[in-house]
Symmetry: none
Subunit: 152 residues, 2 copies
């Protein structure tokens, strides 16, 4: 299976269009769909996105819940209600919706970050902050790990 890797910085034009990095686009197109599935990330000021496999994963998650429970009602509102399938135009671009832009505080430029099964879309400054924080955490963790695993 193809993974979303690396990161790419692209511009948003006056009409609100962004090119999806061609590497990512070709993965999205593999299942024949012209859609990019996305939703506000649960724990970051970013947009989570992916293709059919990601959306199927989420649909499957919903199917496992008791149909008439509160839990299902809340989850389907938060997941289905906030998810979108953005159409990818003939030039490989999408238009991010207002709620998504708000959530990720995006203005005129974004960074696509591959995360394997999915990818994220960030406002560039926010991403570099996040990345710094993440790297700091990794170093801290590594100190702990290195006591047990000398190989790292």
């Amino acid at each position: 299976m193809q993974l979303f890797l690396s990161k790419f910085r692209n511009k948003i034009d006056q009409k609100g269009r962004v090119s999806i990095p061609s590497q990512f686009r070709s993965i999205l197109f593999q299942d024949g769909s012209q859609k990019m599935f996305c939703y506000p990330s649960l724990d970051a000021e970013a947009i989570d996105a992916g293709g059919d496999s990601l959306s199927r994963e989420i649909y499957a998650l919903m199917d496992n819940l008791d149909p008439y429970s509160d839990e299902k009602d809340f989850l389907s509102t938060a997941l289905f209600g906030l998810s979108e399938e953005l159409r990818i135009d003939s030039d490989g671009r999408v238009i991010l919706s207002e709620p998504l832009i708000q959530h990720a505080q995006i203005s005129h430029e974004v960074i696509f970050v591959g995360l394997g099964q999915k990818f994220q879309i960030w406002e560039p400054d926010r991403f570099s902050n996040y990345l710094q924080e993440a790297q700091k955490r990794v170093k801290e963790q590594r100190l702990l790990l290195s006591k047990k695993n000398k190989g790292l």
Copy 2:
């Protein structure tokens, strides 16, 4: 199968007409019907709505109940008695009935929220309250989910 996703905010005009978001409309039209099946949501101040598959699902649900039970009587009153099939006009609009409007406390604007198999129609302020609650609950539940679903 096509799912109802995302949310849309539309206006109600002086005649009481609302446009059904085109994404939703095209799903409703898939079975060829020009109708929107709907009823007051059982546990929210909102309108539940969908197409043929939703009404069939509810019929099936009723069939599974003991024919002479109180439970069946209550449910059929609560659901069928209050259900409506609203005609969709040539421009893709419906007129919400007075009882539905009352139940959801709707005035001049509504939010359509996709929930997968069905969607809901909310008064905007009420919805944002409900959404906050839903997001809170999802975050609380999230530890449980994350053990089974790494992708999210």
